[in-house]
């Protein structure tokens, strides 16, 4: 809402600078987006009387004009075809500055000196007219300062009006706020219809409301014999400053009064209304009409129409019809000032995708008591600026009177809610300052209750709490002391799961991975690429009804789309050494339930180099064991015991370089290298490794409170063994045999070498281990250890045909 201060001053005597006013408005709930100053650059633009107009001796199209600019006469060359003696004009004298900073100086024009320039409406910025010079009203005196005469120099507040305040979508509404805040009086103009002529309006027009629920009131007035033309300059200037384009006197007046009081008005060409009979009703199925934007609209019984016996003439509150609109040859105007049900207007405007200044006001709630005032005000202005004769009387169909709300405000209760001690008279004064009437202050139930009558222009005030808010904002939030809630035996903190999730993130950052945050939605084809068949036709993916694009059309069922796109994105930007993780939800529909399942997943991805070559170190490329290292760190730090690796099932994993992690049969997640085809399709490195764990499964098996074990104070003994075995034997098999044979003294098995080559022969490999032994109760004897060791070697020989490497 754009509010020119010069306009606002019509209703309230603002005596403080614009910035201060803006601050005061902000602090009472009317946000000021900006203060725009217009016309400040304008200088030396004066009113002039064209005394004489003679042809230029050397140019046909130019005229020599003698202009009285107040006390002196200027000779000005002018090319405007409409320049004629006797006109009042706007003159830019030498030294003038026009809108946009254009400067005007004395100039030579075809051998004649021109002392300035006569201005068109466009040059002055009051309208779009470039065809001729602007003619000013006869009343203006030569020498008068034009910017101030036309109100071109102004300050315009750009207000953000919250949806609950339809009353502030008007100058008078804002003025009421300003008056309340500054403690000033609001002076609202009183329309006086002085000249009414016969016949009575009732002889020419009738109004019938068929749907009182959607239209509680329909007020109309008529004027005959108007002349359609431009509206007065001051009105055009104000409309422009408020952001409305001037069209013609009659239309401008409807807009002007709407901006002034918030009541949308519609002017019909009265001759186009069949039988002068207006029927307000819902549309019939299949009915159509052409709106004034030229579009043919299919109507729906949800829509309220203004009709005559021949058919629709307007979409109530939203847009007029083409047939009945005011045209250049219109002489008789029927002016509509109605009240419509806000939700109905909103629905219709959504259905048709049509919004207007009028619909915006109706859908937030216009004042049902204000229709007659607005009609009087507009018809008065029409007579003044479009001529004609006002018909006697007003049509005012009002099948349903919307009464002002009566509310009670418990003052002590309000004080307790706000945290500041207010007395009844303070609260009453604040409410009365915005025209809420307090009829009585009563002692009821141990509280002082204000009985309030809320004016109908405040449809947002329906409950006691609404009055509490009015009191609070007018009292000033800044005057309410800041406190903290009293403690009632509460304590703050994270629960165990929240703590562990934080520590998992900390662990992964310490392991060298960067956390990423990616979108919850993805493209169906991306899921399809990862898991053919997963999204097609099956109800196992959550789809959006109204995605912004195909790339964000379904909810992810795995974190992989996001993780892989981050790798791809960074590779394209030549970022290397990529190791990332994400903790986020994935989504699976649940049969027969409204809401999907949202398991929290932990995902990692890495590819290319884990570390580049450094001055003292070779480059390390990512492989299966890099991601496995992350898995092991996680399992170890969460104290997850007894985990096993099984064959992974994820269709995106390389079957020979991946694994599923389970604990007692429960799947925690899977990890490993991407299938070559998948890596290629996502444009990531062929060695890309991924991991996806279920956070709940992980935390379910984590040992949150590891058991204390005596470590003893006797030294450990370490022995190395090197073994030769068939290529097909897995490290875990060897580990298992060693562990079993090693018994209670063997505490740790560390593998330090893996060798394949000539020394061990074809089809064979060698593994070397460091075995650590210790006991809590004694220093181990050499013989004891040797005994265990040979038991281990025997078992290896017996069970896996593994021999000691010589």
């Amino acid at each position: 809402m754009r509010v020119p201060l010069s306009w606002l001053r019509d209703y309230v005597d603002i005596d403080i600078p614009a910035e201060e006013l803006a601050d005061r408005l902000e602090n009472t709930g009317t946000a000021v987006e900006s203060i725009v100053r217009t016309g400040r650059e304008l200088q030396n633009i004066l009113a002039g009387l064209l005394l004489e107009c003679s042809p230029h001796p050397r140019a046909d199209r130019l005229k020599l004009c003698r202009v009285d600019v107040g006390g002196r006469v200027a000779d000005i060359v002018c090319g405007a075809p409409n320049a004629a003696a006797g006109m009042k004009v706007a003159v830019a004298v030498p030294g003038a500055v026009l809108p946009g900073g254009r400067r005007i100086e004395r100039a030579e024009m075809m051998g004649v000196t021109s002392e300035g320039m006569l201005l068109s409406g466009a040059e002055l910025g009051v309208n779009d007219d470039t065809a001729g010079i602007l003619e000013l009203p006869a009343e203006v005196a030569p020498g008068e300062d034009i910017p101030s005469y036309l109100g071109l120099a102004d300050e315009v507040l750009e207000l953000e009006i919250t949806p609950n305040r339809p009353d502030c979508l008007s100058m008078i509404g804002v003025a009421r706020e300003v008056a309340a805040i500054l403690g000033l009086l609001l002076s609202q103009p009183l329309p006086r219809i002085e000249e009414e002529t016969l016949p009575e309006i009732t002889e020419l027009a009738t109004v019938q409301i068929d749907d009182p629920d959607l239209c509680s009131r329909y007020t109309a007035r008529m004027i005959r014999g108007v002349t359609i033309g431009p509206s007065p300059l001051w009105m055009q200037t104000r409309l422009r400053a408020a952001g409305v384009r001037p069209i013609s006197n009659v239309v401008d007046i409807t807009n002007y009064v709407m901006l002034e009081c918030g009541q949308p008005l519609h002017a019909f060409d009265a001759r186009r209304i069949h039988e002068g009979h207006i029927i307000v009703r819902r549309a019939k199925p299949g009915e159509r009409m052409v709106t004034l934007d030229g579009a043919t609209r299919e109507l729906d019984p949800e829509m309220l129409l203004i009709t005559d016996p021949a058919g629709p003439i307007a979409l109530a509150g939203v847009m007029g019809g083409e047939d009945s609109e005011v045209a250049d040859d219109t002489t008789d105007v029927l002016l509509e000032s109605a009240h419509f049900k806000p939700t109905s207007i909103m629905r219709v405007s959504r259905m048709l995708g049509l919004t207007s200044e009028a619909s915006r006001r109706f859908e937030r709630g216009s004042d049902p008591s204000g229709t007659a005032w607005a009609a009087d005000r507009a018809i008065e202005l029409m007579r003044a600026y479009a001529g004609g004769q006002i018909l006697k009387g007003t049509l005012d169909a009002r099948p349903r009177v919307i009464e002002p709300a009566r509310l009670g405000l418990r003052v002590q209760r309000a004080s307790r809610l706000l945290g500041v001690e207010l007395d009844a008279s303070t609260a009453a004064d604040l409410l009365e300052s915005i025209d809420i009437r307090i009829t009585e202050t009563a002692e009821e139930g141990g509280d002082s209750v204000l009985h309030a009558i809320v004016p109908t222009f405040r449809p947002d005030l329906e409950r006691e709490i609404d009055l509490v808010e009015e009191v609070a904002r007018l009292y000033g939030y800044s005057r309410i002391p800041s406190t903290l809630p009293a403690s009632r035996g509460r304590y703050g903190g994270l629960n165990q799961e929240q703590r562990e999730l934080r520590s998992i993130k900390r662990l992964l950052e310490a392991a060298g991975l960067f956390e990423v945050v990616t979108y919850g939605f993805t493209a169906e084809r991306v899921l399809e690429r990862l898991k053919p068949g997963m999204a097609r036709g099956e109800p196992d993916v959550v789809r959006l009804r109204n995605p912004v694009s195909d790339d964000m059309a379904v909810m992810r069922t795995t974190l992989l789309p996001g993780l892989l796109s981050v790798l791809d994105y960074n590779l394209r930007r030549r970022n290397t050494e990529l190791g990332i993780f994400e903790v986020g939800r994935v989504f699976f529909p649940r049969k027969g339930r409204d809401l999907p399942e949202e398991p929290l997943k932990l995902g990692c991805a890495m590819g290319g180099f884990w570390a580049q070559k450094q001055w003292d170190r070779e480059a390390r490329e990512v492989d299966f064991y890099t991601i496995k290292g992350i898995v092991e760190v996680l399992l170890e730090r969460l104290n997850i015991k007894g985990w096993e690796l099984l064959k992974a099932q994820s269709p995106w994993l390389h079957p020979g370089k991946s694994a599923a992690v389970t604990v007692h049969g429960a799947l925690l997640g899977e990890f490993g290298e991407l299938k070559p085809g998948i890596a290629e399709a996502f444009e990531v490195k062929p060695n890309t490794q991924v991991l996806e764990f279920d956070a709940a499964a992980l935390l379910a098996v984590a040992e949150h409170l590891p058991e204390f074990r005596e470590i003893g104070r006797y030294p450990a003994v370490r022995r190395d063994i090197a073994l030769v075995m068939d290529e097909g034997i897995a490290q875990a098999e060897v580990d298992k045999v060693i562990r079993k044979a090693g018994g209670s003294l063997l505490r740790e098995i560390g593998m330090f070498d893996l060798y394949r080559g000539e020394q061990v022969g074809k089809g064979k490999k060698s593994m070397a281990f460091t075995l650590t032994y210790f006991s809590e109760d004694r220093t181990l004897e050499e013989a004891e250890i040797s005994q265990v060791e040979s038991a281990i070697l025997d078992a290896l020989e017996r069970e896996l045909s593994i021999s000691v490497r010589s």
Binding site: N27, G29, T162, N164, R165, T343, R413, R416, L418, G419, V420, R463, I465, V468, A472, Y477, P481, S482, T483, L484, P485, A486, S487, R488, G492, G493, L494, N495, R502, L508, E509, A510, G512, L513, F514, E515, V517, Y519, G520, F521, V542, R543, L544, R545, N546, V548, M555, Y569, N570, G579, F581, G584, F587, P589, D594, L595, P596, W610, Q614, D616
Partner: protein, 349 residues
């Protein structure tokens, strides 16, 4: 030897020892000097031999002096030895010196995302004030996201242009991607009784066209407190403390009345601009203030939905935009970078 020549010689030895010990430059030469003065046939030993020749009345005094000189030489020898030792070690170490400017060896270190760190920072501030954490689903029903939060059926935010709706499995579904983290309020109040002091971080979704301050997915921390006697003053005090913790105690905080469907009275909260300190600059659009969050007293209608008596309980709620806090705190001009995941950004901040 008579006493006189004895003393003379002793003082000579003492003087010579001081001079030569000062001049000696190697440990080897020092050893020679030790032998010369203190060796079994050194000058001091020789004088001890000759001590016996002195008159018995002069022997104690001379003996005493002789011992003094001996101790003096011993301590000087030792001091000089230490000096020479450490000089030697210094020389050796200087030959061993390396290029300390070569890069050090370390394992890779990753980082939590800035969004996570800000969420944790916010959580911790409220945990310190006695709040607990509670998360809610990202796919919500219309009831939790709008209706129970007192958002009327016709509210523009509910339109297909603003809110993502989920395709229904045949039947009419009201499932949607939550547009804020506020539904957690309802879920918690439905299942628990006051006192409630809860913060709820998470993702939310709106059908916004991405620009410098909007992305279709974003993060919010919802917070609310419900108990007997919770006041608007409590809301002010709580959020002032929060703003000071996040942005610094020198920043001013102001509360402007505003409108939200689920709170009344409502407020928008600003902090004074950290760049211009309130005098006006581009960041704060010349206002001197930066809008931080929306808040208010929980609307009695919301209590109605969860069966709380608004005359018994009152409460406040607020919603903090995590990206907004990140943008202001770290002066990030365009929040889209937070979801781009460019490593250069992830590593730098």
């Amino acid at each position: 030897m008579d006493a006189e020549s004895g003393y003379r010689e002793l003082e000579n030895i003492a003087r010579r020892a001081v001079e030569t010990l000062q001049a000696v430059e190697t440990l080897e030469d020092l050893e020679h000097l030790r032998i010369e003065f203190l060796g079994r046939s050194g000058s001091i030993a020789r004088l001890f031999q000759e001590l016996r020749e002195l008159d018995s009345s002069e022997r104690p005094a001379f003996g005493k002096r002789l011992n003094e000189v001996k101790k003096e030489i011993e301590s000087r020898l030792e001091a000089r030895e230490q000096e020479l030792q450490s000089r030697l070690e210094g020389l050796r170490m200087s030959r061993e010196s390396i290029d300390i400017t070569l890069p050090g060896r370390s394992e890779k270190l990753g980082r939590k995302h800035l969004i996570t760190r800000i969420i944790e920072e916010i959580e911790d501030i409220f945990i310190g004030m006695g709040y607990q954490l509670q998360e809610g689903p990202e796919v919500e029903t219309d009831y939790y996201n709008f209706e129970a939060l007192n958002t009327p059926e016709w509210h523009p935010a509910k339109s297909l242009a603003d809110t993502f709706y989920v395709e229904a499995d045949g039947a009419k579904s009201t499932a949607l991607l939550r547009t804020h983290t506020s539904p957690v309020q309802i879920r918690v109040m439905e299942s628990r009784k006051p006192p409630l002091f809860i913060v709820s971080p998470g993702k939310a979704y709106r059908r916004d066209v991405p620009d410098a301050s909007h992305t279709p997915m974003f993060h919010q921390v919802e917070g609310f407190a419900v108990d007997r006697h919770i006041t608007l003053g409590d809301l002010k005090g709580t959020l002032e403390l929060f703003c000071h913790e996040i942005f610094g105690a020198e920043r001013e905080v102001r509360f402007r009345p505003h409108f939200f469907p689920f709170t009344e009275p409502s407020a928008e909260v600003d902090v004074s601009c950290g760049i211009c300190e309130g005098s006006g600059c581009r960041l704060c659009k010349q206002t001197g203030w930066l809008e931080i969050l929306g808040a208010g007293m929980i609307d009695p209608n919301v209590f109605g939905y969860v069966g709380y008596d608004p005359d018994e309980y009152s409460g406040f709620a607020f919603g903090v935009g995590v990206e907004r806090i990140a943008a202001l705190k770290y002066r990030i001009p365009d929040i889209r970078i937070l979801l781009e995941q460019d490593f250069r950004f992830l590593q730098s901040i």
